[in-house]
Symmetry: D2
Subunit: 315 residues, 4 copies
């Protein structure tokens, strides 16, 4: 591009104005013409909207981080219920916490500025801390109860089949991730399943069960292969991020849409902080893909994104 043409091709930064009657649509629309992470958040919302509108797109959603303890269980539930997620990949921890809440246990709000709260004290009180949220030990007892009474016929079922079974056994609930995924036939993959309190209870009470992890891995590759188009939304990185990306590496078409919400940084080389752009070199992301990495705590960005999408699709 020639000198002047290049400069002319650039859009102005729009100095956003906000009114008390602005809608989330207005705000996101306004932020699209700013810079830094505000713009990235707006682009992320827009890309997700496009991804949903594209009927050929299979939407892979990778979820790491302590989403349920933080109070975002219902957010993920609604993403699934609204059809915004086709395939969910998550951590054993999130499923353990989801199970606890679905069984009627609760996380508690802590305040780390209160001097009398310290970890030794919490240990005495049987409260397990996740930053500023506490999970009482009782929740684990409830999970133990539930899992020990489970009858498992196929000892070599896949992890995803086991998670579907769990979802089916659970009572109706307007926030449960396991439940809504089972009801909506959204498969849940959990490659690091054994790294969870849920898996420990399963292992303690059903020692002969050998959930098939390898088959899930191959199924995931098939799902990526069969997708006409692939779109991904990565929350927090970790194993879910790589598990989705490695499947796409083997599909004929790399992802065409990608959103990532993370607080990690790229320079130390870990995958959670890696830029989406890097995935182009691997053939996991198409070089013409629409993509946006949002450097934000997901607890702020995810609710805004759901709010935007609900308004955009009038649900």
């Amino acid at each position: 591009m020639k000198k002047n043409d290049f400069k002319k091709s650039l859009k102005k930064v729009h100095q956003i104005k906000i009114n008390k009657d602005s809608t989330i649509q207005d705000i996101i629309e306004g932020l699209k013409d700013t810079g830094f992470n505000a713009k990235r958040l707006a682009l992320g919302c827009e890309i997700y909207e496009t991804m949903i509108k594209d009927a050929d797109c299979v939407k892979f959603f990778g979820l790491a981080g302590a989403i349920v303890p933080c109070g975002l269980q219902g957010i993920i539930h609604d993403f699934v219920e609204e059809g915004f997620i086709d395939i969910l990949v998550t951590t054993g921890a999130n499923l353990t916490h989801d199970l606890a809440e679905t069984l009627g246990y609760h996380h508690l709000q802590g305040d780390m500025n209160v001097e009398e709260i310290n970890d030794s004290r919490l240990h005495e009180e049987a409260l397990n801390r996740i930053y500023d949220v506490f999970l009482p030990n009782q929740a684990y007892e409830g999970i133990e109860d539930f899992i020990s009474n489970l009858s498992i016929r196929e000892e070599q079922m896949t992890v995803s089949s086991f998670l579907k079974l769990l979802g089916e056994k659970l009572p109706e609930n307007d926030k449960s991730i396991l439940k809504i995924c089972a009801r909506r036939n959204v498969p849940i993959f959990c490659p690091a399943f054994t790294d969870s309190g849920l898996a420990l209870q399963l292992g303690f009470h059903h020692p002969n069960v050998n959930l098939n992890h390898m088959k899930d891995m191959l199924t995931m590759v098939d799902l990526a292969w069969e997708a006409k188009k692939a779109g991904i939304c990565i929350v927090g990185g970790g194993v879910p991020k790589n598990f989705i990306l490695q499947s796409l590496q083997f599909s004929p078409n790399a992802a065409l849409y990608a959103i990532q919400i993370t607080m990690d940084r790229p320079e130390p080389g870990g995958l959670s902080g890696a830029s989406l752009k890097e995935a182009i070199s691997w053939g996991k992301l198409n070089e013409k893909a629409l993509y946006s990495t949002i450097i934000s705590d997901a607890s702020i960005a995810l609710p805004l994104m759901l709010w935007y999408l609900k308004q955009a699709f009038n649900r």
Copy 2:
């Protein structure tokens, strides 16, 4: 507190639900019962609201970071116009960029994912990069023009008086920070004024001017001393943060309200990432103060906060 009493004193994490018709008031209200930075953002909004309602409270606002290039000039303008800021402390850079925009120049949107954009190319195009925003050199020429034509009678006026003079000379503008502060008599302190393009132009064209920095510093201490109550909102840290805090150290009452929005972290010991709590040890923050540090890009948190406040005060 006794064991059971302690546990009972804790509130449940509320699993937030969002509807398409939710308002920003609803969302913030909902996030207040979650965890992590979502909760901190909600607390920050609530504390700012309380601070505004408290007629005795003088609201100190510290603004670092590239707020104007990012497109948030109008956000700060509205904070001032609505009376949400009583005293502004900021960087020379923000004022330089504010001046450029007020004089009719614009920042441009860059896209760091486009391969053909690189810094050597930008240098040839006379575009100065601020992450993903570009400022054309012309803006500096415009500033030079404006400053060189300024008649400065008091060569030893304070920095804040000089900034007021600038605001008075500027045309009406619905986004300019310098203008609205001059019109609303909100003093602007800029302790690192000479660290800016604006100051360079002043120095080049008015070499005998010796703006009095020391007097501003003493005035700031007086303002803190005279405040019945002090409330602070710190965006991005840096010199503005410390300048406000050091003034409060000498006032009889430390700050009673405090909000901080930052992406820096505390462990390396720099002030921008330091917790607000630390300020209690210095006597800058009252130990009974309401305070919240929000780990977020200000480009996301500040617009949400303004939106919330405008709705809360129906403006």
Copy 3:
């Protein structure tokens, strides 16, 4: 503690001086009396030293992050060879990269400041990017070759047994992690094994293999249970961190020594950034444990730590 006593109990910050002839022992000794992460690094070195000297201590080492691509394969090898690691928990990615290097393939140095290097170009060149390191596709072909020729008799062996098998089949090598662990009988646990290129090749070529993940999980709990004392070193967090910690939760004695090297931050609630202190509430870390979290790229901290330990033990 009384007022004056408290102040007197505090040690002075020692302003460190460095000579050209200082040893790493001197430097770490000096940094112990400073602050911030320098002090934490020094404490980490000292704690590791104590942990090695304590004959009753079982040393659990959690390794996430792209350690091998970065060039630290030999560092981990030496930690194992010197007996500084008793149980290794790591990611499938690190083992995949270790296998590639051990089979004679190499990672390449990239320079992200060179304008002509971009991800589309790298994709054409069949170079897969990990921040500023590139892995040629050939490495994956080599891994495929090796795995496809493997004869696997026990289709339901555990992941750790499979990894031991790999180590046994590999040629002698003075940097290979898989090899030295096999030779030294240091078990490798890899809970998210299926999240790796290595697992994909295993699945593609041996579709009936169903590596037992659950049994590894239970074995790990036993190892934690049987340890007289437990010490942990966590690099980068992720699944390895939680897998070690969840095992300790069920042992009669929580960890007495703990070191963590991470660049993630605690506020967004993810485990990789969580403080070690938090683990006290869970009963995973003893409230009297010696512990230090070092906020540093492991590529800087780990070599220094190994260097310090080799000097300390004169090896």
Copy 4:
């Protein structure tokens, strides 16, 4: 470059090996062929070495962050004493802390894991916290004493002249930054001088003093202009970073060497986290410059760098 040529042009990642008898020269040499921040640290050391060897290079050093409280006062002292710094730009805080230590006061080591240490308690004890370091109030009393007894003849002297005066009045000291700079004629610029406890004492006791900040700014531009070649080392960013860079913008030749040590990140757009590369677009850094940004706590990277340089120059 053609396909194969490109791949061939890349160097292998060297898997570093460390012996107990390795020197810091060996370690840095080894890390140069790794990746991530280890490589960046090694490049930074090498660039600094080159910069010192280049007789035409004027070495600008920008120092933000709580370097003196952390225990690195002697490190900076030695950089100056060895001739590794020609012009120092720093914060008022570092000079305040330097003055305190030089007058015989000390910072104290805190331990933020000890439950009984909290900020209210510290406030009662008159201990001011800087992350895990405490500064007793007495230090400020000592500074007040020193400043109030100072006779200042030129009320409009520049900040740098005032700082030189301070250095001259101070007793000999093998760690003091103010002292060694005065003795070695290394000018100290402090654009945000009034943002410091030192400035407050000056203002309280010498209310007519109006230190000339503008003249320092112009002098700094002259120094940059007159430098045959410019090299910069930026620790922690902040005002010192921009003050150096803005001066270089007006020199005929942009910097040819640049090192930056920071823990801030670039995406939120603040200068402290901005890449050095960005400075190329501004004409502050030459597009052919050697440069390296090290993402590390300076408390770790700076001592290593000094150690390396002392060995390299055999001092």
